[in-house]
């Protein structure tokens, strides 16, 4: 039997990596730099999280290392995209292929085998919520990273809705020339936004290896970074829309996981795993109107003195 309740509960946890990654992607794209390398930053974050937890025995250290790892990869992307004015899609593809190869290589180096790592300390539950009456047991059954993702979601929404910083990021992404005449350091702001997107993608990865699981699996991001970017498009680059799109995809992700559990007509897991992607492509194809991003998204901005 397919349990609707299980799907709903599960779609909260499948939304988490999408939320982190797509909010990161949103911040980066709002500032005018596409970050298609998010997929690579997720897998790198998942790997770094496992490494941190494995060597220190502390999952929190793992999470911090995941953020650093994702941020460092993003810094490479920022350097190529902003300082070098290089092709952003190419750089991002390089980041993703590098991370996939690097993490597979690192896994073999550490454990002398392919597939997955040893189990490590993780953060599966939030025990401080356990004592809350009635709902405490439900709340406690989710990883603290789930709540962190909700906080980040609220924060990003607030950032773009109410803060001058959000407006500045918006201006830099729409028209960097105007932004510069207003006294905004275009490069600096873009650097910050891209690195933040990497840190968030790293958190998404940490959730995969330390929140949902307690180990690292090769290619465990399985295309979530791209789903997250599709959520940015579908959400029309508005925080609220992006968050809703994430939950939309996560329901289908939860659905396919649930179908695997109940052995739906004996369909193999590989076929079921494609469901979110098919849904995503269909939605992209049939959504109304052209998806229009920030005007200067993906265009390098070269300073006058350069």
């Amino acid at each position: 039997m397919i349990s609707i309740r299980a799907i709903i509960l599960m779609s909260i946890s499948t939304a988490v990596p999408l939320l982190f990654a797509s909010l990161g992607g949103l911040i980066s794209e709002k500032s005018g730099v596409t970050n298609i390398g998010i997929e690579g930053m997720i897998i790198f974050g998942a790997f770094c999280g496992m490494v941190g937890s494995y060597y220190t025995g502390s999952a929190v250290v793992g999470v911090i290392l995941a953020m650093i790892g994702g941020g460092l990869l993003a810094l490479i992307h920022a350097f190529i995209a902003i300082t070098c004015g290089g092709a952003q899609a190419v750089s991002a593809t390089g980041i993703t292929l590098f991370s996939a190869g690097f993490t597979s290589y690192g896994l073999r180096l550490m454990f002398d085998r392919a597939g997955n790592s040893d189990t490590v300390a993780n953060l599966p539950t939030t025990e401080i919520f356990r004592n809350i009456p009635v709902i405490g047991n439900y709340l406690a059954n989710y990883s603290p990273l789930v709540y962190l993702s909700f906080i980040v979601a609220f924060g990003v929404w607030y950032l773009f809705k109410y803060t001058p910083l959000g407006t500045r990021i918006h201006t830099v992404g729409e028209n960097p020339k105007v932004a510069e005449t207003l006294g905004i350091d275009v490069w600096r702001l873009r650097y910050i936004c891209v690195v933040v997107s990497g840190v968030l993608a790293g958190l998404g990865g940490a959730y995969l290896s330390l929140g949902q699981m307690n180990l690292f699996q090769e290619n465990m991001s399985a295309g979530r970074g791209y789903l997250a970017l599709a959520a940015v498009i579908l959400g029309r680059w508005k925080p609220g829309g992006v968050i809703i799109s994430c939950f939309f995809f996560s329901v289908f992700d939860a659905l396919q996981l649930q179908l695997q559990v109940v052995d739906f007509y004996g369909l193999s897991p590989t076929i079921l795993a494609a469901i979110p992607y098919v849904v995503c492509l269909l939605v992209l194809a049939f959504s109304f109107g052209k998806s229009k991003g920030p005007a200067s998204n993906g265009k390098p901005y070269m300073k006058k003195n350069n």
Binding site: E39, S91, F98, L229, I271, L284, K290
Partner: protein, 353 residues
């Protein structure tokens, strides 16, 4: 003299990218406590060390030339097709169907038919990303990679449900008919698949198409400047569509030739990674189809040689995947390489003074 200068300028970035990727690779090898020189020696021995090794390297380059051409033609229109892998798998599936079920044709005709079907299946798989790009301006990186996951699933489903060979321990389709196999050309201990000839012909045809025909010129113009080419009457949408369909078709041919040459039958779970190799291959060649023949050789050296490196020195062959990413990053960051070259020049000038 100017021509030589231009040539040096053209190959500077690719060569330095390759150099840096080997440097990063060496660092990773040192981390694993192995000797990088020993590892690279094993790699080159594995790729060139014997006639059999050399044949294998050349044969592996067949599919890589096709995927390199596939990425290249799409990138002429500034769409990055990273879904070559899915198009390749779907092309191999189509070719397998045509190779098994179309019977009674003479070999030459059958081969042409199977290749055509492989091309068509690959092109179909690129159609949806092309439409998304034209109608909704969806970045092809996102749409093509999603089509990869769908392709693996659909083909796996088809093989498992409808086309599973009965007398086999593995989940696989039937062997394609002998009339659909690409023959090997054997001289002494060299054994080269005739697919190599097809791949080289494809590269030459594409070179002529891009450089000597009006359609090729239009595709180039759209890539260089979509806005102004539109003003001068070149249809942007049509050219993006054409370049992505040809791209998908070429990736489909990569799968078809792999099937008709070395494999013979399509296994469940087939995804050899050639589609991703096509990205650095095309970028290193800067879109020149003739140069792609040589850059794909580099990757078949890495792929074939890394097996020996793994077995004899114990360095995991996944290192090649990381190196591939590094090459792409350095090409994207052409600017750093220019800086490094200038710094070296300055230092040399300083030494002379």
């Amino acid at each position: 003299m100017d021509k030589v200068k231009k040539l040096i300028n053209d190959i500077k970035t690719p060569l330095l990218s390759i150099f840096f990727s080997f440097l990063v690779g060496a660092t990773l090898i040192i981390f694993s406590g192995k000797n990088p020189i020993e590892a690279y020696a094993a790699l080159f021995r594995g790729a060139f060390g014997s006639p059999a090794a050399l044949s294998q390297t050349l044969n592996k380059s067949i599919s890589l030339i096709f995927t390199g051409l596939a990425v290249s033609i799409a990138y002429q229109c500034k769409s990055l097709n990273i879904g070559g892998e899915g198009q390749l798998v779907f092309g191999a599936f189509g070719a397998s169907l045509a190779g098994i079920f179309i019977k009674g044709l003479p070999a030459v005709i059958h081969i042409i038919v199977v290749l055509a079907v492989g091309f068509a299946f690959g092109a179909i798989w690129a159609l949806i990303p092309a439409i998304l790009k034209i109608k909704k301006d969806v970045n092809t990186v996102i749409s093509t990679i999603m089509m990869n996951y769908v392709s693996f699933s659909v083909v796996s489903f088809m093989i498992n449900t409808f086309f599973k060979a009965s007398k086999s321990d593995f989940v696989t389709m039937e062997q394609v008919l002998d009339t659909a196999r690409l023959p090997y050309i054997q001289f002494s201990t060299f054994r080269i698949n005739s697919g190599l000839v097809l791949a080289i012909i494809a590269a030459i045809v594409l070179y002529i198409f891009l450089n000597k025909t009006v359609s090729g010129y239009e595709i180039n113009a759209v890539g260089l400047n979509p806005v102004s080419s539109n003003i001068s009457g070149i249809n942007y949408k049509k050219n993006v569509l054409i370049s992505l369909l040809i791209s998908g078709g070429l990736a489909g041919l990569a799968g078809a030739t792999d099937l008709m040459g070395s494999m013979g039958k399509l296994y469940d779970g087939y995804n050899p990674g050639y589609g991703f190799d096509g990205i650095p291959i095309a970028l290193l060649a800067k879109g020149n189809p003739i140069v792609i023949i040589f850059t794909s050789l580099l990757f078949s050296v890495l792929r074939v040689g890394s097996i020996t490196m793994q077995t004899s020195v114990g360095v995991s062959r996944t290192i090649v995947d990381a190196m591939q990413g590094v090459i792409i990053l350095f090409i994207a960051a052409e600017y750093i390489i220019v800086l490094v070259v200038e710094a070296i020049k300055k230092k040399k000038a300083g030494d002379k003074l």
